[in-house]
Amino acid sequence: MKKQMQLVQCTVNGKEVAEYVDVRESLLEMLRNRLGLTSVKKGCEVGECGACTVIVDGETIDSCIYLAVWAEGKNIRTLEGLEKNGELTRIQEAFIEEGAIQCGFCTPGFVMSATVLLERGEKLSREAIKKQMSGNLCRCTGYHNIINAVEKVMDENFEKKDET
């Protein structure tokens, strides 16, 4: 094992970031340890649980199985970047309204998966929503309320579209 450092320049939650990282480091470790973005949770560290989900160039990935050096030139979003002026996004509110949170460990990952899904602007069936959320595990809620929250916001978005 050798220490091999490399400069990574990328955008994280809208800000330009330049960090020297160890080539052996995961993006999860870079975001948590170097940038203090602790919404990115360290769960299984083998790509199974989705607790570490972040958005890279518009797509969700498990940051535990993604090397930090691969972030070069990328646009990365974590939960910390969602709120605006202290206001939660609609999907975050819906998680609270629907009781989709218990211990909360899985929540940031779920919210990031839901965020991409909602931003795509497609209307999906409940089954299709489940498939798109299947890379995230929750040991507390039983999923029902999580899917309810996503479905609720998706429906709202489409009602708004119908009105305009």
Binding site: M1, R24, I61, I65, Y66, L67, V69, K131, S134, N136
Partner: protein, 294 residues
């Protein structure tokens, strides 16, 4: 922190080949969804890596003037599923890789990694066998092209020579034009689970005559390597569409595949499922061709 000895980044195919020759102990990393897991497990601990993610030529999908479809080995699963060429000409491949893991893994894992990993459970592979895909391998010189069936040597072993990299998967036009395919993955969970058994059927039906003209049946997890049911294929060609055809595929497939007992499922169970999913996949391909399966 991953237990990685040295990390080298290749910007071009030539650079990758050069790096692999210079560091014969180094392993290729593409999406990393197999390699990083194995480093974590300790199996590949202390390995050196040659990263091929920055090589543009091996990403994306193109249909050539000849009609042949070139799929870059570095293309991730979700990009295959969303690609207009795939959706138009070989939708079965996009549907198959949409059954890998969950959305995050489908944004990470590449089709080249899925093939070179050599796992029998690889979700892209049965369909690529049934499409008679050709693999383009580069060694920095002329390279070579091999049929995917010859690439699999044994469990987890593929015919990748030191210093070689898989650059493209080629589906010749004659192998998909007029054919319809369907892939069934049988697993214990709907998502985030690897196949207990899987089957990809690609067939060509003469709809007006009601005759099955051609068929290719490939199983994953039914033998040490992905397995084409040649005997069954030969027996089915030319049969009229209908119950007798479906009974024959079900029965013959059960005689031809040789799955093993594992903690996931017993041999008997896999045989039972095997006949059933082959039958269902065939019926679906006939429907897709616009035929009346009954």
């Amino acid at each position: 922190m991953y237990d990685i000895e040295n990390y080298y980044n290749a910007g071009t195919i030539a650079e990758a080949v050069e790096l692999l020759k210079e560091h014969p102990d180094a392993r290729i990393i593409s999406g990393g969804s197999d390699v990083l897991i194995k480093i974590r497990e300790g199996k590949f601990a202390g390995t050196s890596l040659v990263c091929i993610r920055d090589i543009r030529e091996i990403k994306g999908i193109e249909r050539m003037e000849s009609g042949d479809i070139y799929i870059g080995a570095g293309t991730v699963f979700s990009h295959i599923t969303n690609d207009p060429v795939i959706q138009r000409w070989i939708p079965v491949l996009g549907e198959a890789v949409d059954q890998v893991g969950g959305p995050q893994v489908r944004n990470i894992g590449t089709v080249g990694g899925n093939i070179c990993n050599g796992a029998v459970s690889a979700d892209s592979v049965p369909t690529l066998f049934s499409l008679n895909a050709m693999l383009r391998l580069s060694d920095g010189k002329g390279g070579r092209t091999v049929p995917i069936r010859q690439f699999y040597l044994g469990p987890g072993r593929v015919d990748l020579q030191p210093g070689e990299i898989l650059t493209h998967i080629v589906i010749p036009e004659r192998e998909y034009m007029g054919y319809y395919g369907h892939y069934i993955k049988y697993s214990m969970r709907n998502a985030m689970d690897i196949a207990t058994l899987s089957c990809s059927v690609v067939s060509k039906t003469d709809v007006s005559q009601g005759i099955l003209e051609d068929i290719r049946i490939t199983f994953g997890v039914a033998a040490p390597v992905p397995f084409r049911c040649e005997k069954t294929e030969a027996a089915l060609k030319g049969m009229p569409v209908g119950e007798e055809l479906y009974d024959t595929i079900e029965k013959m497939v059960r005689e031809e595949i040789h799955p093993r007992d594992s903690w996931r499922a017993s041999r008997e169970f896999r045989l039972q499922i095997g006949g059933e999913i082959a039958r269902r996949a065939l019926i679906r391909t006939i429907e897709l061709a616009g035929g009346d399966p009954s």
